[in-house]
């Protein structure tokens, strides 16, 4: 490792000033709304996601209070249903995915040595759609009509016969609206990763986080439509009595389950793969060596994305499907464990051959391995049809899902926060508080969720609002409830760490961890234009072996480079759009559509369509401020 020998960027104050005036977002409220800066928007995604984590966490704590002792009267059953549904929906759709995407949006241009995402205005648009969709779904609480049929909203329970209020309409319309943001963000990441990498960053030199966020984005592009189809059909049935899910008129409730899980299982990997990608960045840095099996990890990531589309029926083993189909999906579900194991062993081998530096980030990463192995084992267990029949719809499944999402993806997010916070805010997080937070979360998490495995075997069904005494459920449920509060305390400690360090933390140097990838070449926090001169790379770990140099500054306009997909040969200098308020306005206009349909104000919905179309036309109209006559 020879960081000192590596080329350092030449500073030219005149160039820096020109670039700042081109890329800077002025400090006023309109500019704040209009900004397309991927760094600002990425951080906004993460902060907003954590606000939703707080809401989903409060819901979880209320549930745990209710379940802390038998025949508790703390929550009525209707409230319990709404809370567990919104807890799941929030964590799946409004916390994990947006936060993981937020890291993609913040890091991707920096990791590939670019100045922006491929579609900066689209990025701003997807942020505001995500924000408004989340607010839209949470407004349901003000009518005491939050979604109440579980986060996967099985029909006929979610159909018009058994759920006549607007609860499920909030769910269906909110998720359809959110889907716009998710799909737009995914397309943005794919095109950025494939077309905007620094010259010389061929696909084989691409950092592993980009492999995972690209695979995740492809999974979004091809799985989101299944959810959209399921929700459109559900809303047509609820509103206009199209009997898609009604067996009396030729429909089938199983159609919902198929469509939902054709989406839902890839979605599991959408929430999991970016987490592994972040860890593949963190393990080598804190093991002080390149990752073992880089190519294998990249291939395993892509393989997981593919196989993830062929396992959805394992959520439906108890629905009476043909034996052959169950065998096939059981086998496919077990095969998925192979690429996951490849990644785990690559990380273990990296630590084994390296010199491990136990930072807070690394502790969370190791915590991930422990908890993901447990969650993976219970996953393989549930992939076996007879075992699944035994534990389906019990707390065993709840334990599994939480080990995979809270114990794994959330721990990876924590590792990523401790790793990238210095880059985001230019301050170091406090390591002592961080370690305290880690151990509190680790102990709290396992106390809250491990007993659920046992309760599941004992036959405690999920989603019951209370239970009788004397069934042997009492003690374990109390331990879980206490654990949930300890887990929350650990998160609060980290929140305090973030707030405190952001204000008075130690100033961060550009590369505090001695990492090897390009984002650590930029200042901490990065300048508005990311890099004064755009980097050119010739290896996987350019900052470790010094295999990089700098190209021109491109300071005549908002310029960055476009390169070829595989070899990253320079194709063209392209101009990026200016800040633009149309993104937020378009998102607001589109919000009129779900609101109009929800309250049957169809005039409002139609007006929303017309105004959105007019704004879209304005958005697509070429701007006249360009310095290059290209890209029209």
């Amino acid at each position: 490792m020879s960081i000192a020998a590596a080329p350092v960027p030449e500073r030219d104050p005149a160039v820096a000033e020109r670039l700042t005036s081109l890329w800077e977002t002025p400090k006023n409220i309109v500019a704040w709304l209009a900004t397309v800066d991927h760094k600002k928007l990425g951080k906004r995604y993460i902060v907003t996601g954590f606000v939703f984590l707080f809401l989903g966490g409060v819901e979880a704590l209320l549930l745990r209070v209710q379940l802390s002792r038998p025949e508790n009267q703390f929550l009525p059953p209707e409230a319990f249903n709404q809370l567990f549904t919104m807890h799941g929906t929030t964590m799946m759709f409004l916390f994990l995915q947006p936060v993981l995407s937020g890291f993609s949006f913040f890091c991707t241009p920096l990791l590939i040595g670019s100045r922006e995402l491929a579609f900066p205005r689209l990025n701003a648009f997807s942020y505001y759609v995500f924000l408004l969709a989340g607010i839209f779904m949470y407004l349901s609480f003000f009518w005491a009509a939050a979604p109440d049929a579980g986060w996967f909203a099985y029909t006929p329970l979610s159909g018009p016969r058994f759920d006549a209020g607007v609860n499920i309409d909030f769910y269906a319309l909110g998720l359809l609206f959110l889907g716009i943001a998710t799909t737009a963000g995914a397309i943005n990441v794919i095109v950025t990763v494939l077309k905007m990498r620094a010259p010389g960053m061929s696909i084989s030199r691409m950092p592993l986080f980009l492999w995972s966020s690209m695979t995740m984005s492809f999974a979004v592009v091809f799985s989101m439509p299944a959810l959209n189809a399921a929700l459109v059909l559900l809303e047509l049935e609820r509103r206009w009595h199209f009997p898609f899910y009604d067996p009396r008129l030729g429909g089938s409730p199983l159609l919902w389950q198929h469509l939902f899980w054709v989406f839902g299982h890839p979605w599991v990997y959408i929430l999991f793969l970016p987490a592994t990608g972040m860890l593949s960045m963190i393990f080598p840095v804190f093991s002080r060596r390149p990752i073992v099996g880089h190519t294998w990890v990249a291939l395993a990531t892509v393989a997981t994305g593919f196989v993830g589309f062929g396992v959805w029926v394992h959520h439906m083993f108890a629905t009476g499907l043909p034996q052959l189909s169950m065998s096939f999906f059981s086998a496919a579900s077990m095969i998925v464990s192979i690429p996951s194991a490849i990644q785990i062993f690559a990380w273990i081998a990296t630590m084994w051959y390296g010199r491990v530096w136990f930072t807070t980030s690394m502790l969370f990463a190791i915590g991930f391995i422990v908890q993901f192995v447990i969650g993976g084992m219970s996953g393989v267990f549930s992939a076996a049809v007879p075992a699944d029949w035994q534990v389906t719809d019990t707390y065993f499944v709840v334990a599994h899902i939480h080990y995979v999402f809270a114990g794994s993806s959330l721990f990876a997010v924590m590792a990523a926060i401790y790793y990238w916070f210095p880059k985001m805010y230019g301050r170091m997080l406090d390591e002592r508080i961080g370690k305290l937070s880690f151990w509190t979360m680790f102990v709290g998490f396992n106390a809250a969720f491990f007993p659920m495995h046992i309760l599941g075997f004992m036959g405690m069904p999920r989603r019951i609002y209370t239970f009788q005494p004397g069934l042997g459920f009492d003690t374990l449920n109390l331990i879980e409830s206490v654990g949930a509060f300890v887990f929350t305390l650990g998160l609060v400690i980290s929140l305090w760490n973030v707030i405190q360090s952001r204000a008075v933390g130690e100033a961060a140097p550009p590369n505090p961890w001695g990492a090897s990838t390009l984002e650590w070449l930029a200042a901490s926090p990065p300048e508005h234009y990311n890099f004064e001169r755009l980097p050119i790379v010739a290896s996987r770990d350019p900052l470790w072996d010094g295999q990089y140099t700098f190209g021109p500054a491109y300071d005549e306009g908002r310029l960055t480079v476009r390169t070829s997909v595989l070899d990253a040969n320079l194709e063209k200098v392209i101009e990026m759009p200016e800040d633009d308020v149309w993104a937020v306005l378009l998102a607001l206009a589109l919000l009129a559509i779900p609101i109009g349909i929800l309250w049957r104000w169809y005039g409002v919905a139609i007006a929303g369509v017309i105004v959105s179309l007019a704004m879209l036309a304005r958005w697509l109209w070429p701007s006249h401020r360009r310095v290059l006559e290209t890209e029209i």
Partner: protein, 203 residues
């Protein structure tokens, strides 16, 4: 590798818009996700077919093949005229682009008009809330019609710009994107036509 290896192409004339433009990639991925949505809807139609004794179910007659083949022909022809318009602007011929786009729009409107007659006939026989078959039939075809309308709006946008003197032989990414979308809308119709109208003849 050194910094001098990077050509300073700001001094060169702008390169022609190629299929590698990021905007084209974005449109291609958008079309991919839209195509998946149609696949899900058509898949739902077929899945519901397996859950019923017949498909169309007993009591509902197979769709007649009078207007739909004409609709198919009109839409395929509109794809051809779109190709012709794109070919024109590739040579820098803005007049050919304008004529091609106008004819494509007329054909698209023609498709929607014939579909209106087709719907009027269908709605006399079955309502979407009568049966899951009818519900899927109307959902898939009207979802496609919505895409035809979107495509027409995009074509109108491209035509307006062409009339204002935008686009030349080098710079016409918007035309290519609109073309890609329009060909997609036409290709999806072939799948819908085959599944909803032709396939019931063979079982």
């Amino acid at each position: 590798m050194t910094a001098t290896a990077m050509p300073d192409d700001r001094t060169l004339p702008p390169p022609p818009s190629s299929t590698a433009d990021v905007g084209y990639w974005g449109m291609a991925l958008f079309v991919a996700t839209e195509a998946t949505m149609f696949a899900m809807l058509v898949g739902s139609y077929l899945f519901l077919g397996t859950a019923n004794p017949g498909w169309p179910p007993p009591g509902i007659e197979r769709p007649k093949l009078i207007l739909p083949p004409i609709m198919t022909a009109v839409l395929l022809l509109s794809s051809a005229t779109m190709f012709w318009a794109e070919k024109g602007i590739k040579r820098g011929d803005r007049t050919q682009l304008r004529i091609g786009l106008s004819v494509t729009i007329v054909l698209g409107l023609g498709f929607l008009t014939i579909q209106g007659f087709e719907y009027a006939d269908k709605l006399r026989k079955m309502k979407p809330w009568d049966h899951a078959y009818a519900a899927s039939f109307y959902t898939i075809t009207s979802f496609h019609a919505l895409h035809v309308i979107s495509g027409l709006l995009l074509l109108g946008y491209a035509l307006l710009r062409a009339l204002l003197g935008h686009f030349d032989g080098e710079q016409h990414l918007a035309v290519k994107n609109v073309g890609l979308y329009w060909h997609f809308v036409d290709a999806v119709w072939l799948v819908i036509f085959t599944t909803l109208y032709l396939s019931p003849r063979f079982y």
